[in-house]
Protein backbone atom coordinates (compact mmCIF):
# COMPACT_ATOMS: atom_id res chain seq x y z
CA UNK A 1 0.00 0.00 0.00
CA UNK A 2 2.74 2.42 0.94
CA UNK A 3 4.74 1.95 -2.25
CA UNK A 4 1.58 2.34 -4.21
CA UNK A 5 1.04 5.69 -2.57
CA UNK A 6 4.58 6.71 -3.29
CA UNK A 7 4.10 6.21 -6.99
CA UNK A 8 1.03 8.41 -6.58
CA UNK A 9 -1.33 5.83 -7.95
CA UNK A 10 -4.85 6.03 -6.54
CA UNK A 11 -4.62 5.80 -2.77
CA UNK A 12 -8.22 4.80 -2.44
CA UNK A 13 -8.15 1.58 -4.43
CA UNK A 14 -8.33 -1.31 -2.00
CA UNK A 15 -7.12 -4.75 -2.97
CA UNK A 16 -10.55 -6.29 -3.07
CA UNK A 17 -12.49 -3.93 -5.25
CA UNK A 18 -16.03 -5.14 -5.91
CA UNK A 19 -15.71 -6.93 -9.24
CA UNK A 20 -16.01 -4.34 -12.02
CA UNK A 21 -19.08 -4.60 -14.18
CA UNK A 22 -18.27 -5.68 -17.71
CA UNK A 23 -19.82 -2.70 -19.50
CA UNK A 24 -18.30 0.72 -20.11
CA UNK A 25 -19.44 2.20 -16.80
CA UNK A 26 -16.65 3.73 -14.71
CA UNK A 27 -16.11 2.02 -11.37
CA UNK A 28 -16.97 4.19 -8.36
CA UNK A 29 -13.32 4.06 -7.26
CA UNK A 30 -12.09 5.43 -10.59
CA UNK A 31 -14.69 8.15 -10.38
CA UNK A 32 -13.53 9.00 -6.88
CA UNK A 33 -9.93 9.17 -8.05
CA UNK A 34 -10.98 11.54 -10.84
CA UNK A 35 -12.61 13.94 -8.45
CA UNK A 36 -9.73 13.56 -5.97
CA UNK A 37 -7.27 14.51 -8.73
CA UNK A 38 -9.19 17.72 -9.39
CA UNK A 39 -8.85 18.77 -5.75
CA UNK A 40 -5.55 20.67 -5.57
CA UNK A 41 -5.44 20.80 -1.79
CA UNK A 42 -5.98 17.05 -1.55
CA UNK A 43 -3.12 16.50 -3.99
CA UNK A 44 -0.87 18.64 -1.81
CA UNK A 45 -1.87 16.38 1.08
CA UNK A 46 -1.13 13.25 -0.93
CA UNK A 47 2.29 14.64 -1.90
CA UNK A 48 3.20 15.44 1.70
CA UNK A 49 2.11 12.01 2.87
CA UNK A 50 3.98 10.28 0.02
CA UNK A 51 7.05 12.34 0.81
CA UNK A 52 7.08 11.23 4.44
CA UNK A 53 6.34 7.61 3.51
CA UNK A 54 9.34 7.64 1.14
CA UNK A 55 11.50 9.13 3.87
CA UNK A 56 10.36 6.47 6.30
CA UNK A 57 11.04 3.63 3.85
CA UNK A 58 14.48 4.87 2.83
CA UNK A 59 15.47 6.31 6.22
CA UNK A 60 18.68 4.27 6.39
CA UNK A 61 19.81 5.49 2.98
CA UNK A 62 18.73 9.11 3.42
CA UNK A 63 19.98 9.84 6.92
CA UNK A 64 23.48 11.34 6.71
CA UNK A 65 24.43 10.02 10.16
CA UNK A 66 23.27 7.24 12.44
CA UNK A 67 20.45 8.50 14.64
CA UNK A 68 22.09 7.07 17.76
CA UNK A 69 25.61 8.42 17.11
CA UNK A 70 26.57 10.36 20.22
CA UNK A 71 29.39 12.85 19.81
CA UNK A 72 29.62 15.15 22.79
CA UNK A 73 32.22 17.44 21.20
CA UNK A 74 29.64 18.28 18.53
CA UNK A 75 26.80 19.17 20.86
CA UNK A 76 24.37 21.94 19.95
CA UNK A 77 25.88 22.84 16.60
CA UNK A 78 23.62 25.29 14.76
CA UNK A 79 22.23 24.23 11.38
CA UNK A 80 25.14 24.15 8.91
CA UNK A 81 26.28 22.46 5.71
CA UNK A 82 27.37 19.40 7.68
CA UNK A 83 24.33 19.24 9.93
CA UNK A 84 21.39 20.74 8.03
CA UNK A 85 19.14 20.72 11.08
CA UNK A 86 21.96 21.12 13.64
CA UNK A 87 22.78 18.72 16.47
CA UNK A 88 21.20 18.04 19.87
CA UNK A 89 22.60 17.97 23.40
CA UNK A 90 24.43 14.69 22.71
CA UNK A 91 25.82 15.88 19.38
CA UNK A 92 23.39 13.67 17.48
CA UNK A 93 22.44 14.83 13.98
CA UNK A 94 18.87 16.15 14.16
CA UNK A 95 18.15 15.66 10.45
CA UNK A 96 18.98 11.97 10.78
CA UNK A 97 16.82 11.70 13.87
CA UNK A 98 13.90 13.49 12.23
CA UNK A 99 14.21 11.16 9.21
CA UNK A 100 14.14 8.06 11.39
CA UNK A 101 11.33 9.60 13.42
CA UNK A 102 9.13 9.54 10.31
CA UNK A 103 9.32 5.76 10.42
CA UNK A 104 8.13 5.68 14.03
CA UNK A 105 5.32 8.20 13.66
CA UNK A 106 3.93 6.63 10.50
CA UNK A 107 4.25 3.17 12.01
CA UNK A 108 2.29 4.22 15.09
CA UNK A 109 -0.22 6.09 12.94
CA UNK A 110 -0.92 3.21 10.54
CA UNK A 111 -0.91 0.37 13.00
CA UNK A 112 -2.90 2.01 15.76
CA UNK A 113 -5.56 3.01 13.25
CA UNK A 114 -5.48 -0.45 11.68
CA UNK A 115 -6.07 -1.88 15.14
CA UNK A 116 -8.95 0.49 15.84
CA UNK A 117 -10.49 -0.24 12.43
CA UNK A 118 -10.36 -3.99 12.92
CA UNK A 119 -11.63 -4.07 16.50
CA UNK A 120 -14.09 -1.22 15.91
CA UNK A 121 -15.47 -2.81 12.73
CA UNK A 122 -16.00 -6.20 14.33
CA UNK A 123 -17.76 -4.68 17.33
CA UNK A 124 -19.76 -2.25 15.18
CA UNK A 125 -20.87 -4.95 12.76
CA UNK A 126 -21.85 -7.32 15.52
CA UNK A 127 -23.78 -4.53 17.26
CA UNK A 128 -25.53 -3.39 14.12
CA UNK A 129 -26.25 -6.81 12.67
CA UNK A 130 -27.44 -8.63 15.76
CA UNK A 131 -29.03 -5.63 17.48
CA UNK A 132 -31.01 -6.09 20.72
CA UNK A 133 -29.00 -6.55 23.91
CA UNK A 134 -25.73 -7.18 22.04
CA UNK A 135 -26.10 -3.76 20.47
CA UNK A 136 -27.10 -2.31 23.83
CA UNK A 137 -23.95 -3.50 25.57
CA UNK A 138 -21.53 -2.63 22.79
CA UNK A 139 -23.06 0.80 22.22
CA UNK A 140 -22.91 1.63 25.93
CA UNK A 141 -19.20 0.68 25.96
CA UNK A 142 -18.63 3.04 23.03
CA UNK A 143 -20.54 5.80 24.85
CA UNK A 144 -18.40 5.34 27.93
CA UNK A 145 -15.11 5.34 26.02
CA UNK A 146 -16.20 8.47 24.13
CA UNK A 147 -17.07 10.12 27.43
CA UNK A 148 -13.38 10.57 28.23
CA UNK A 149 -11.27 13.30 26.68
CA UNK A 150 -9.18 11.10 24.36
CA UNK A 151 -5.70 12.11 25.50
CA UNK A 152 -6.72 11.62 29.12
CA UNK A 153 -7.89 8.08 28.39
CA UNK A 154 -4.63 7.40 26.56
CA UNK A 155 -2.65 8.67 29.54
CA UNK A 156 -4.69 6.47 31.87
CA UNK A 157 -4.15 3.38 29.69
CA UNK A 158 -0.41 4.02 29.46
CA UNK A 159 -0.13 4.57 33.20
CA UNK A 160 -1.58 1.07 33.62
CA UNK A 161 0.47 -0.64 30.91
CA UNK A 162 3.69 1.28 31.57
CA UNK A 163 5.35 3.85 29.32
CA UNK A 164 6.60 2.52 25.98
CA UNK A 165 5.99 3.13 22.30
CA UNK A 166 4.09 -0.14 21.96
CA UNK A 167 1.79 0.71 24.86
CA UNK A 168 1.23 4.21 23.48
CA UNK A 169 0.18 2.57 20.22
CA UNK A 170 -2.24 0.30 22.09
CA UNK A 171 -3.67 3.24 24.04
CA UNK A 172 -4.23 5.25 20.87
CA UNK A 173 -5.81 2.25 19.19
CA UNK A 174 -8.22 1.83 22.11
CA UNK A 175 -9.36 5.44 22.14
CA UNK A 176 -10.20 5.30 18.43
CA UNK A 177 -12.19 2.06 18.56
CA UNK A 178 -15.59 3.71 19.25
CA UNK A 179 -15.19 6.07 16.27
CA UNK A 180 -15.01 3.15 13.85
CA UNK A 181 -17.41 1.03 15.85
CA UNK A 182 -20.16 3.64 15.61
CA UNK A 183 -19.42 4.25 11.95
CA UNK A 184 -19.76 0.57 11.04
CA UNK A 185 -22.79 0.12 13.25
CA UNK A 186 -24.73 2.93 11.59
CA UNK A 187 -23.58 1.68 8.20
CA UNK A 188 -24.80 -1.84 8.92
CA UNK A 189 -28.12 -0.51 10.22
CA UNK A 190 -28.77 1.41 7.01
CA UNK A 191 -27.55 -1.31 4.64
CA UNK A 192 -29.44 -4.05 6.50
CA UNK A 193 -32.76 -2.63 5.38
CA UNK A 194 -31.81 -2.57 1.69
CA UNK A 195 -33.73 -4.92 -0.55
CA UNK A 196 -30.69 -6.69 -1.92
CA UNK A 197 -29.85 -7.88 1.58
CA UNK A 198 -33.32 -9.34 1.92
CA UNK A 199 -32.78 -10.93 -1.50
CA UNK A 200 -29.42 -12.33 -0.46
CA UNK A 201 -30.98 -13.80 2.63
CA UNK A 202 -33.88 -15.21 0.59
CA UNK A 203 -31.51 -17.14 -1.67
CA UNK A 204 -29.96 -18.63 1.45
CA UNK A 205 -26.79 -16.61 1.88
CA UNK A 206 -25.27 -17.01 5.35
CA UNK A 207 -24.82 -14.09 7.74
CA UNK A 208 -21.04 -14.19 7.38
CA UNK A 209 -21.23 -14.14 3.59
CA UNK A 210 -23.67 -11.25 3.66
CA UNK A 211 -21.35 -9.35 5.97
CA UNK A 212 -18.24 -9.97 3.88
CA UNK A 213 -19.76 -9.62 0.42
CA UNK A 214 -22.29 -6.87 0.94
CA UNK A 215 -21.91 -4.95 4.14
CA UNK A 216 -18.12 -4.56 4.29
CA UNK A 217 -17.64 -3.34 0.70
CA UNK A 218 -20.43 -0.85 1.33
CA UNK A 219 -18.64 0.54 4.36
CA UNK A 220 -15.17 0.88 2.83
CA UNK A 221 -15.43 4.48 1.66
CA UNK A 222 -16.24 6.01 5.05
CA UNK A 223 -13.63 3.79 6.74
CA UNK A 224 -10.95 5.03 4.36
CA UNK A 225 -11.92 8.67 4.92
CA UNK A 226 -12.20 8.37 8.66
CA UNK A 227 -9.06 6.23 8.79
CA UNK A 228 -6.96 8.83 7.02
CA UNK A 229 -8.13 11.55 9.38
CA UNK A 230 -7.61 9.23 12.36
CA UNK A 231 -3.98 8.64 11.33
CA UNK A 232 -3.45 12.39 11.62
CA UNK A 233 -4.83 12.46 15.16
CA UNK A 234 -3.00 9.26 16.09
CA UNK A 235 0.33 10.81 15.06
CA UNK A 236 -0.35 13.90 17.18
CA UNK A 237 -1.47 11.78 20.12
CA UNK A 238 1.61 9.55 19.90
CA UNK A 239 3.79 12.64 19.86
CA UNK A 240 1.89 14.07 22.82
CA UNK A 241 2.38 10.87 24.81
CA UNK A 242 6.06 10.84 23.83
CA UNK A 243 6.29 14.47 24.91
CA UNK A 244 4.80 13.61 28.31
CA UNK A 245 7.36 10.81 28.68
CA UNK A 246 4.64 8.17 28.31
CA UNK A 247 5.48 6.94 24.83
CA UNK A 248 8.75 6.18 23.10
CA UNK A 249 11.77 5.95 25.39
CA UNK A 250 15.31 7.16 24.61
CA UNK A 251 17.22 6.83 22.37
CA UNK A 252 14.26 6.21 20.02
CA UNK A 253 14.08 9.26 17.74
CA UNK A 254 10.34 9.79 18.25
CA UNK A 255 9.38 13.36 17.37
CA UNK A 256 7.42 14.12 20.54
CA UNK A 257 10.13 12.65 22.74
CA UNK A 258 12.75 14.70 20.87
CA UNK A 259 10.77 17.84 21.68
CA UNK A 260 10.55 16.92 25.35
CA UNK A 261 14.28 16.20 25.56
CA UNK A 262 15.35 19.43 23.90
CA UNK A 263 12.80 21.86 25.34
CA UNK A 264 15.15 22.77 28.19
CA UNK A 265 17.77 23.86 25.68
CA UNK A 266 15.43 26.06 23.69
CA UNK A 267 17.46 29.18 24.53
CA UNK A 268 20.86 27.86 23.42
CA UNK A 269 19.63 25.61 20.64
CA UNK A 270 16.15 26.51 19.34
CA UNK A 271 16.67 24.34 16.25
CA UNK A 272 16.47 21.23 18.42
CA UNK A 273 12.83 22.14 19.12
CA UNK A 274 11.96 23.64 15.74
CA UNK A 275 12.53 20.70 13.38
CA UNK A 276 10.84 17.78 15.17
CA UNK A 277 7.77 19.98 15.69
CA UNK A 278 7.69 21.04 12.04
CA UNK A 279 7.89 17.39 11.05
CA UNK A 280 4.88 16.50 13.22
CA UNK A 281 2.88 19.43 11.90
CA UNK A 282 3.63 18.71 8.23
CA UNK A 283 2.83 15.00 8.47
CA UNK A 284 -0.42 15.68 10.28
CA UNK A 285 -1.31 18.43 7.81
CA UNK A 286 -0.70 16.00 4.96
CA UNK A 287 -3.04 13.38 6.35
CA UNK A 288 -5.69 15.99 7.18
CA UNK A 289 -5.64 17.46 3.68
CA UNK A 290 -5.73 14.03 2.12
CA UNK A 291 -8.59 12.98 4.39
CA UNK A 292 -10.63 16.06 3.50
CA UNK A 293 -9.99 15.43 -0.19
CA UNK A 294 -10.97 11.78 0.09
CA UNK A 295 -14.16 12.74 1.88
CA UNK A 296 -15.17 15.08 -0.90
CA UNK A 297 -14.24 12.49 -3.53
CA UNK A 298 -15.68 9.36 -1.95
CA UNK A 299 -18.66 10.48 -0.01
CA UNK A 300 -20.14 13.84 -0.88
CA UNK A 301 -22.84 13.31 1.74
CA UNK A 302 -20.27 13.45 4.51
CA UNK A 303 -19.35 17.02 3.61
CA UNK A 304 -20.32 19.25 6.48
Amino acid sequence: MSEQLAKSTPPVVPQHVPAPVEDKAISPWKEAWRSFKKNKIALVGLSIVSFFILIAIFADLLAPYHYKDVNLSDKHIAPSAEHWFGTDEFGRDILSRVIHGARISLWVGFFSVAGSVIVGSVLGIVAGYYGKWVDGIISRIFDILLAFPSILLAIAVVSVLGPSLKNALIAIAIINVPTFGRLLRSRVLSVKEEEYITAARAVGMSDTRILIHHILPNSLAPIIVQGTLAIATAIIEAAALGFLGMGAQPPTPEWGKMLADSKDFIIQAPWTVLFPGLAIMLTVLGFNLMGDGLRDALDPRMKS
Binding site: D143, A156, L244, G256, L259, K263, I266, G277, M281, L285
Partner: protein, 334 residues
Amino acid sequence: MFAYTIRRLATLVPVLLGMTFIVFMMIRAIPGNPAQLILGQQATQEAIEGLTRRLGLDQPWYTQFFAYIKGLFAGDLGVSLKTNVPISEEIWPYLAATMELALVAMIIAIVVGVNAGIVSAWFQNSWFDYTAMVLALIGVSMPIFWLGLMEQYIFSIQLDLLPTTGRDNIRVPVDPITHLYLIDTLIQGRFDQFTEVIRHLILPGIALGTIPMAIIARMTRSSMLEVMRSDYIRTARAKGMKMFWVVYKHSLKNAMIPVVTVIGLQTGLLLGGAILTETIFGWPGIGTYIYDAISFRDYPVIQSGILVVATIFVLINLLVDLLYAAIDPRIKFK
Protein backbone atom coordinates in the same frame (compact mmCIF):
# COMPACT_ATOMS: atom_id res chain seq x y z
CA MET B 1 -37.97 20.17 25.81
CA PHE B 2 -38.58 18.92 29.34
CA ALA B 3 -39.07 15.31 28.23
CA TYR B 4 -35.97 15.54 26.08
CA THR B 5 -33.94 16.85 29.01
CA ILE B 6 -35.13 13.99 31.20
CA ARG B 7 -34.38 11.44 28.50
CA ARG B 8 -30.92 12.87 27.97
CA LEU B 9 -30.24 12.91 31.73
CA ALA B 10 -31.31 9.26 32.02
CA THR B 11 -28.70 8.18 29.45
CA LEU B 12 -26.13 9.92 31.59
CA VAL B 13 -26.44 7.54 34.53
CA PRO B 14 -25.04 4.37 32.92
CA VAL B 15 -22.29 6.39 31.23
CA LEU B 16 -21.16 7.96 34.50
CA LEU B 17 -21.33 4.61 36.29
CA GLY B 18 -19.43 2.88 33.52
CA MET B 19 -16.80 5.60 33.52
CA THR B 20 -16.30 5.26 37.24
CA PHE B 21 -16.02 1.49 36.86
CA ILE B 22 -13.43 1.72 34.08
CA VAL B 23 -11.26 4.21 35.95
CA PHE B 24 -11.59 2.19 39.13
CA MET B 25 -10.61 -1.09 37.45
CA MET B 26 -7.80 0.53 35.51
CA ILE B 27 -6.04 1.68 38.63
CA ARG B 28 -6.39 -1.83 40.03
CA ALA B 29 -5.02 -3.34 36.84
CA ILE B 30 -1.62 -1.78 37.42
CA PRO B 31 0.66 -4.76 37.99
CA GLY B 32 2.11 -5.29 41.43
CA ASN B 33 0.88 -4.25 44.83
CA PRO B 34 0.22 -0.50 44.75
CA ALA B 35 1.25 -0.20 48.39
CA GLN B 36 4.63 -1.76 47.57
CA LEU B 37 5.03 0.50 44.53
CA ILE B 38 4.20 3.59 46.53
CA LEU B 39 6.46 2.84 49.47
CA GLY B 40 9.38 1.47 47.44
CA GLN B 41 11.67 -1.52 47.90
CA GLN B 42 12.93 -0.49 51.34
CA ALA B 43 9.51 -0.53 53.00
CA THR B 44 8.86 -2.90 55.87
CA GLN B 45 6.19 -5.57 55.59
CA GLU B 46 4.26 -3.80 58.33
CA ALA B 47 4.19 -0.48 56.51
CA ILE B 48 3.03 -2.19 53.33
CA GLU B 49 0.27 -4.02 55.13
CA GLY B 50 -0.76 -0.80 56.84
CA LEU B 51 -1.05 1.09 53.57
CA THR B 52 -2.81 -1.85 51.91
CA ARG B 53 -5.44 -1.66 54.62
CA ARG B 54 -5.67 2.11 54.41
CA LEU B 55 -6.25 1.92 50.66
CA GLY B 56 -8.83 -0.79 51.29
CA LEU B 57 -6.90 -3.11 48.97
CA ASP B 58 -7.35 -6.09 51.30
CA GLN B 59 -11.07 -6.06 50.49
CA PRO B 60 -12.54 -7.78 47.41
CA TRP B 61 -12.81 -5.41 44.43
CA TYR B 62 -16.60 -5.13 44.49
CA THR B 63 -16.57 -4.09 48.14
CA GLN B 64 -13.97 -1.48 47.25
CA PHE B 65 -16.02 -0.32 44.26
CA PHE B 66 -19.23 0.10 46.22
CA ALA B 67 -17.38 1.86 49.00
CA TYR B 68 -15.93 4.23 46.39
CA ILE B 69 -19.33 4.91 44.82
CA LYS B 70 -20.85 5.45 48.23
CA GLY B 71 -18.06 7.90 49.01
CA LEU B 72 -18.64 9.73 45.73
CA PHE B 73 -22.28 10.33 46.62
CA ALA B 74 -21.13 11.84 49.90
CA GLY B 75 -18.68 14.06 48.02
CA ASP B 76 -15.72 11.98 49.15
CA LEU B 77 -13.11 11.60 46.40
CA GLY B 78 -10.55 9.85 48.57
CA VAL B 79 -7.40 11.13 50.23
CA SER B 80 -4.22 12.07 48.38
CA LEU B 81 -1.29 9.84 49.34
CA LYS B 82 1.18 12.62 48.65
CA THR B 83 -0.36 15.42 50.70
CA ASN B 84 -2.66 13.42 52.97
CA VAL B 85 -5.42 15.96 52.26
CA PRO B 86 -8.88 14.88 51.06
CA ILE B 87 -8.95 15.30 47.28
CA SER B 88 -12.30 17.09 47.40
CA GLU B 89 -10.64 19.79 49.52
CA GLU B 90 -7.51 20.31 47.44
CA ILE B 91 -8.87 19.89 43.92
CA TRP B 92 -10.68 23.23 43.53
CA PRO B 93 -7.62 25.51 43.01
CA TYR B 94 -6.45 23.20 40.21
CA LEU B 95 -9.90 23.08 38.65
CA ALA B 96 -10.24 26.85 38.87
CA ALA B 97 -6.87 27.33 37.16
CA THR B 98 -7.91 25.05 34.30
CA MET B 99 -11.32 26.69 34.00
CA GLU B 100 -9.79 30.14 33.77
CA LEU B 101 -7.33 29.00 31.12
CA ALA B 102 -9.99 27.16 29.12
CA LEU B 103 -12.33 30.15 29.28
CA VAL B 104 -9.69 32.55 27.97
CA ALA B 105 -8.70 30.06 25.25
CA MET B 106 -12.33 29.75 24.18
CA ILE B 107 -12.85 33.53 24.13
CA ILE B 108 -9.77 33.95 21.93
CA ALA B 109 -10.92 31.08 19.70
CA ILE B 110 -14.46 32.44 19.30
CA VAL B 111 -13.60 36.11 18.77
CA VAL B 112 -10.83 35.44 16.25
CA GLY B 113 -12.37 32.32 14.71
CA VAL B 114 -15.86 33.71 14.11
CA ASN B 115 -14.60 37.01 12.72
CA ALA B 116 -12.01 35.37 10.49
CA GLY B 117 -14.73 33.05 9.18
CA ILE B 118 -17.12 35.95 8.52
CA VAL B 119 -14.59 38.09 6.68
CA SER B 120 -13.42 35.05 4.69
CA ALA B 121 -16.98 34.36 3.58
CA TRP B 122 -17.68 38.03 2.89
CA PHE B 123 -14.61 38.37 0.66
CA GLN B 124 -14.69 34.84 -0.68
CA ASN B 125 -11.63 33.92 -2.79
CA SER B 126 -9.78 37.08 -1.79
CA TRP B 127 -6.21 36.95 -0.48
CA PHE B 128 -7.61 37.27 3.05
CA ASP B 129 -9.84 34.26 2.51
CA TYR B 130 -6.96 32.16 1.19
CA THR B 131 -4.54 33.20 3.93
CA ALA B 132 -7.10 32.63 6.68
CA MET B 133 -8.10 29.21 5.37
CA VAL B 134 -4.48 28.07 4.90
CA LEU B 135 -3.74 29.23 8.44
CA ALA B 136 -6.84 27.39 9.67
CA LEU B 137 -5.68 24.19 7.95
CA ILE B 138 -2.29 24.52 9.60
CA GLY B 139 -3.95 25.35 12.93
CA VAL B 140 -5.98 22.14 12.90
CA SER B 141 -2.79 20.13 12.38
CA MET B 142 -0.81 21.93 15.05
CA PRO B 143 0.68 19.92 17.91
CA ILE B 144 -0.20 22.35 20.70
CA PHE B 145 2.76 21.41 22.88
CA TRP B 146 5.06 22.47 20.06
CA LEU B 147 3.10 25.65 19.42
CA GLY B 148 3.44 26.47 23.13
CA LEU B 149 7.22 26.00 23.01
CA MET B 150 7.51 28.17 19.90
CA GLU B 151 5.40 30.91 21.53
CA GLN B 152 7.65 30.84 24.58
CA TYR B 153 10.73 31.09 22.37
CA ILE B 154 9.45 34.00 20.30
CA PHE B 155 7.40 36.05 22.75
CA SER B 156 9.17 35.38 26.04
CA ILE B 157 12.77 34.57 25.24
CA GLN B 158 13.42 36.59 22.07
CA LEU B 159 11.04 39.53 22.42
CA ASP B 160 10.73 39.45 26.22
CA LEU B 161 7.09 40.55 26.01
CA LEU B 162 5.24 37.97 28.07
CA PRO B 163 6.04 35.61 30.95
CA THR B 164 6.81 31.94 30.18
CA THR B 165 5.25 30.06 33.06
CA GLY B 166 2.82 30.24 35.97
CA ARG B 167 -0.38 32.15 36.64
CA ASP B 168 0.91 35.24 38.43
CA ASN B 169 4.06 37.13 39.30
CA ILE B 170 5.64 34.96 42.04
CA ARG B 171 7.09 38.02 43.74
CA VAL B 172 3.62 39.55 44.12
CA PRO B 173 1.44 36.44 44.37
CA VAL B 174 -2.31 36.76 44.08
CA ASP B 175 -4.19 36.29 47.34
CA PRO B 176 -6.70 33.58 46.37
CA ILE B 177 -10.38 33.87 47.26
CA THR B 178 -12.22 32.02 44.51
CA HIS B 179 -8.96 30.82 42.88
CA LEU B 180 -10.18 32.33 39.64
CA TYR B 181 -7.42 34.93 39.61
CA LEU B 182 -9.13 37.29 37.18
CA ILE B 183 -12.03 37.61 39.62
CA ASP B 184 -9.89 37.57 42.77
CA THR B 185 -7.69 40.46 41.65
CA LEU B 186 -10.74 42.49 40.63
CA ILE B 187 -12.48 41.92 43.96
CA GLN B 188 -9.36 43.08 45.75
CA GLY B 189 -9.05 46.05 43.44
CA ARG B 190 -5.49 45.02 42.51
CA PHE B 191 -5.40 46.18 38.91
CA ASP B 192 -1.62 45.75 38.73
CA GLN B 193 -2.08 42.09 39.53
CA PHE B 194 -5.04 41.84 37.18
CA THR B 195 -2.87 42.88 34.23
CA GLU B 196 -0.17 40.47 35.42
CA VAL B 197 -2.70 37.62 35.43
CA ILE B 198 -3.87 38.57 31.94
CA ARG B 199 -0.27 38.69 30.71
CA HIS B 200 0.24 35.17 32.05
CA LEU B 201 -2.93 33.96 30.36
CA ILE B 202 -2.14 35.17 26.83
CA LEU B 203 0.42 32.60 25.63
CA PRO B 204 -1.16 29.45 27.07
CA GLY B 205 -4.58 30.80 26.04
CA ILE B 206 -3.47 31.15 22.43
CA ALA B 207 -1.79 27.73 22.44
CA LEU B 208 -4.90 26.06 23.78
CA GLY B 209 -7.26 28.13 21.64
CA THR B 210 -5.59 27.55 18.28
CA ILE B 211 -7.25 24.29 17.28
CA PRO B 212 -10.81 25.37 18.21
CA MET B 213 -10.09 28.74 16.58
CA ALA B 214 -9.19 27.04 13.30
CA ILE B 215 -12.21 24.75 13.43
CA ILE B 216 -14.59 27.60 14.32
CA ALA B 217 -13.19 29.75 11.49
CA ARG B 218 -13.76 27.00 8.92
CA MET B 219 -17.23 26.24 10.23
CA THR B 220 -18.28 29.91 10.32
CA ARG B 221 -17.04 30.44 6.78
CA SER B 222 -18.92 27.53 5.24
CA SER B 223 -22.05 28.28 7.25
CA MET B 224 -21.96 31.98 6.28
CA LEU B 225 -21.43 31.16 2.61
CA GLU B 226 -24.53 29.03 2.65
CA VAL B 227 -26.67 31.66 4.36
CA MET B 228 -25.42 34.50 2.21
CA ARG B 229 -26.71 32.73 -0.90
CA SER B 230 -30.28 32.74 0.41
CA ASP B 231 -33.06 34.90 -0.92
CA TYR B 232 -33.61 37.11 2.09
CA ILE B 233 -29.98 38.23 1.99
CA ARG B 234 -30.39 39.15 -1.66
CA THR B 235 -33.52 41.11 -0.70
CA ALA B 236 -31.66 42.94 2.05
CA ARG B 237 -28.91 43.89 -0.37
CA ALA B 238 -31.41 44.85 -3.08
CA LYS B 239 -33.11 47.34 -0.84
CA GLY B 240 -29.75 49.03 -0.43
CA MET B 241 -28.68 47.84 2.98
CA LYS B 242 -25.02 48.31 3.77
CA MET B 243 -23.02 45.11 3.30
CA PHE B 244 -21.61 45.33 6.85
CA TRP B 245 -25.11 45.10 8.36
CA VAL B 246 -26.19 42.40 5.95
CA VAL B 247 -23.23 40.31 7.05
CA TYR B 248 -23.16 41.00 10.77
CA LYS B 249 -26.88 41.36 11.43
CA HIS B 250 -28.83 39.28 8.96
CA SER B 251 -26.47 36.48 7.94
CA LEU B 252 -24.65 35.88 11.18
CA LYS B 253 -27.79 35.13 13.17
CA ASN B 254 -28.68 32.16 11.00
CA ALA B 255 -25.14 31.07 10.33
CA MET B 256 -24.47 30.73 14.05
CA ILE B 257 -26.53 27.57 14.65
CA PRO B 258 -23.91 25.06 13.46
CA VAL B 259 -21.17 27.27 14.84
CA VAL B 260 -22.66 27.11 18.33
CA THR B 261 -22.53 23.31 18.25
CA VAL B 262 -18.93 23.34 17.15
CA ILE B 263 -18.10 25.81 19.91
CA GLY B 264 -19.74 23.52 22.47
CA LEU B 265 -17.97 20.40 21.24
CA GLN B 266 -14.64 22.19 21.22
CA THR B 267 -15.11 23.42 24.78
CA GLY B 268 -15.22 19.80 25.90
CA LEU B 269 -12.18 18.91 23.83
CA LEU B 270 -10.25 21.78 25.42
CA LEU B 271 -10.00 19.72 28.61
CA GLY B 272 -7.74 17.21 26.86
CA GLY B 273 -5.60 19.94 25.34
CA ALA B 274 -5.37 21.67 28.71
CA ILE B 275 -3.27 18.79 30.07
CA LEU B 276 -0.62 19.36 27.42
CA THR B 277 -0.73 23.15 27.60
CA GLU B 278 -0.42 23.08 31.37
CA THR B 279 2.74 20.96 31.38
CA ILE B 280 4.45 23.41 29.02
CA PHE B 281 3.39 26.60 30.73
CA GLY B 282 3.79 25.33 34.31
CA TRP B 283 0.10 26.02 34.76
CA PRO B 284 -1.11 24.64 38.12
CA GLY B 285 -4.30 23.18 36.68
CA ILE B 286 -6.08 19.84 36.83
CA GLY B 287 -3.82 18.41 34.09
CA THR B 288 -0.73 19.16 36.15
CA TYR B 289 -2.50 17.70 39.19
CA ILE B 290 -3.15 14.36 37.44
CA TYR B 291 0.21 14.31 35.69
CA ASP B 292 2.10 14.82 38.95
CA ALA B 293 -0.03 12.17 40.60
CA ILE B 294 0.98 9.69 37.90
CA SER B 295 4.69 10.26 38.45
CA PHE B 296 4.15 10.04 42.24
CA ARG B 297 1.89 6.97 41.91
CA ASP B 298 -0.75 8.80 43.91
CA TYR B 299 -3.50 6.36 42.89
CA PRO B 300 -6.48 8.02 44.63
CA VAL B 301 -5.65 11.31 42.88
CA ILE B 302 -5.19 9.64 39.48
CA GLN B 303 -8.51 7.83 39.88
CA SER B 304 -10.62 10.73 41.15
CA GLY B 305 -8.81 13.35 39.03
CA ILE B 306 -9.56 11.49 35.81
CA LEU B 307 -13.11 10.91 36.95
CA VAL B 308 -13.70 14.59 37.73
CA VAL B 309 -12.36 15.72 34.34
CA ALA B 310 -14.37 13.05 32.50
CA THR B 311 -17.53 14.03 34.40
CA ILE B 312 -17.08 17.69 33.48
CA PHE B 313 -16.55 16.60 29.87
CA VAL B 314 -19.78 14.61 29.91
CA LEU B 315 -21.71 17.48 31.51
CA ILE B 316 -20.44 19.98 28.93
CA ASN B 317 -21.51 17.62 26.15
CA LEU B 318 -24.93 17.31 27.77
CA LEU B 319 -25.23 21.07 27.95
CA VAL B 320 -24.32 21.36 24.28
CA ASP B 321 -26.97 18.82 23.33
CA LEU B 322 -29.63 20.63 25.34
CA LEU B 323 -28.60 23.99 23.96
CA TYR B 324 -28.67 22.65 20.44
CA ALA B 325 -32.11 21.16 20.97
CA ALA B 326 -33.27 24.52 22.30
CA ILE B 327 -31.96 26.36 19.23
CA ASP B 328 -33.07 23.76 16.71
CA PRO B 329 -36.40 22.16 17.67
CA ARG B 330 -36.03 19.37 15.08
CA ILE B 331 -33.42 17.58 17.24
CA LYS B 332 -35.82 16.63 20.01
CA PHE B 333 -37.91 14.39 17.82
CA LYS B 334 -35.05 12.23 16.59
